[in-house]
């Protein structure tokens, strides 16, 4: 979706302001949000792309004014409500009012290390690989209203395939509950002039990781 989360190339947000000696969490609730998001993801309540799509659907003003972990909290609530793990009444009252759904598994103290390991996103190929490193490609001009990982700034642009990463879970499909639908994934390089016009600094190149469905031969 063409949301405010898709920030690449936008102007007006000002300077990057690194914080000296930044703590991992700025308040205890931030850590609890992070740990709950990880626990419920491990439990199979949602995938990373469900969670991303939920945050993308927050009202733009909320997305831009909430802090990072506030967005995570709001996105997690949205996922859990939509997927039937909690009810609005439960969130309002702060107590369970009906039994929980069954989980794929539970992140308990005994399995914390395993629970924090990153899952594999590689899947068996469904079709032959269409591109190889060195191939010229043009990204599609698409504007799905659902989750996609093709950023706006890199649509309808000419690039060159640099790396093939194999076949992986397709976020655009997973986020709308249409299954893994595995697709070949490539790192594609663009010149800054292709992305930002003839006046752009010619010493800069930018890559994205693009699923094969985002690409046409060029």
């Amino acid at each position: 979706m063409d949301g405010v989360h898709d920030m690449g190339g936008m102007d007006g947000f000002g300077k990057v302001e690194p914080e000296q000696n930044e703590p991992v969490f700025h308040a205890p609730w931030e850590g609890r949000v992070l740990a709950m998001v990880r626990s419920m993801g491990y439990a199979g309540a949602y995938s990373a792309d469900h969670a991303r799509f939920a945050r993308e659907r927050l009202p733009p003003t909320t997305y831009l004014t909430a802090s990072y972990y506030q967005r995570w909290q709001l996105g997690m609530e949205m996922c859990l409500l939509e997927r039937g793990y909690v009810t609005a009444e439960e969130l309002t009252t702060g107590h369970a009012l009906q039994p929980g759904k069954s989980l794929k598994r539970k992140l308990t103290s005994e399995v914390v290390s395993a629970g924090l390991a990153r899952p594999s996103f590689h899947r068996q190929q469904q079709a032959p690989q269409r591109f190889k490193p060195g191939d010229r490609v043009r990204t599609k001009n698409i504007h799905p209203i659902t989750h996609t990982r093709l950023p706006r700034y890199a649509r309808d642009k000419l690039g060159v395939v640099e790396i093939c990463h194999g076949c992986q879970v397709y976020p655009d499909s997973v986020a709308v509950d249409s299954g893994d639908n595995p697709q070949w994934l490539y790192t594609v390089v663009f010149t800054s002039q292709e992305l930002w016009g003839p006046d752009a600094d010619p010493t800069i190149t930018v890559t994205i990781d693009a699923f094969e469905t985002y690409l046409d031969p060029a």
Binding site: D6, M7, G94, H95, V112, S113
Partner: protein, 212 residues
């Protein structure tokens, strides 16, 4: 303009009611999820502790220092970072597909996630607030030299800058250039020169005697 973190602070400082609303909301959710049997508060504590004490940029620094000291490992890291890092058993559960990109005199690499906040957690821990902020996510792909200037880094005008936007589950880590004057150093000594930002590409490794 305020970053999302400053924003959070404003709420701490000037809008106390909003902060307590967030705290109450988080507490309510934790209570509901616990009562429904979905989560275990002790596991929540352990996850927080892991990210506060174990899963951080020292893991990545150990990988970089070994690559500087051991040419065979450096080659393995650049060929297939997932496998190379997995071979270092003490680094926490490595990501599915990790790519290490090497800085040279000719090319400087920088990592961003314009769409959300993708970051190699297993090697660098949780991302700093600036990495997740609108200023970084918006400008890194369009004005990387300007972003580097915000970090006090100026590169020669003819150095190529390659920005890697983490739009899928591939995770990237920068192999910074080894500082001069470190010949014969141990990997432990070298690791102290590897800053988090040097592995994201918004900084350079420290020189001997230089403080972070």
């Amino acid at each position: 303009m305020a970053s999302s973190h400053d924003n959070d602070h404003e709420q701490h400082n000037h809008h106390g009611s909003e902060l307590s609303e967030t705290q109450l909301r988080v507490r309510a959710l934790e209570t509901v999820l616990t009562e429904k049997g979905y989560i275990e508060p002790a596991a929540i504590d352990a996850i927080i502790e892991a990210y506060e004490t174990k899963i951080g940029p020292r893991n990545g620094a150990a990988v970089i220092a070994r690559a500087w000291a051991d040419p065979a490992f450096k080659k393995a890291l650049l060929d297939n970072a997932t496998n190379a890092v997995a071979s270092m058993g003490y680094v926490s559960g490595v990501s599915d597909y990790l790519v290490a990109v090497e800085n040279t005199q000719k090319r400087h690499n920088m990592i961003v996630c314009t769409l959300c906040s993708c970051y190699p957690w297993e090697l660098l821990g949780l991302p700093p607030t600036w990495y997740k902020s609108a200023p970084y996510r918006s400008r890194a792909v369009k004005d990387p030299r300007g972003v580097l200037a915000d970090f006090g880094v100026t590169l020669p005008k003819d150095t190529e800058i390659r920005v890697w936007d983490s739009t899928a589950e591939t995770r990237f880590i920068v192999l910074p250039m080894r500082p001069a004057g470190t010949e014969g150093w141990s990997t432990e000594q070298l690791a102290d020169l590897v800053t988090r930002n040097s592995m994201i590409g918004t900084g350079l490794a420290l020189n001997p005697g230089e403080k972070a």
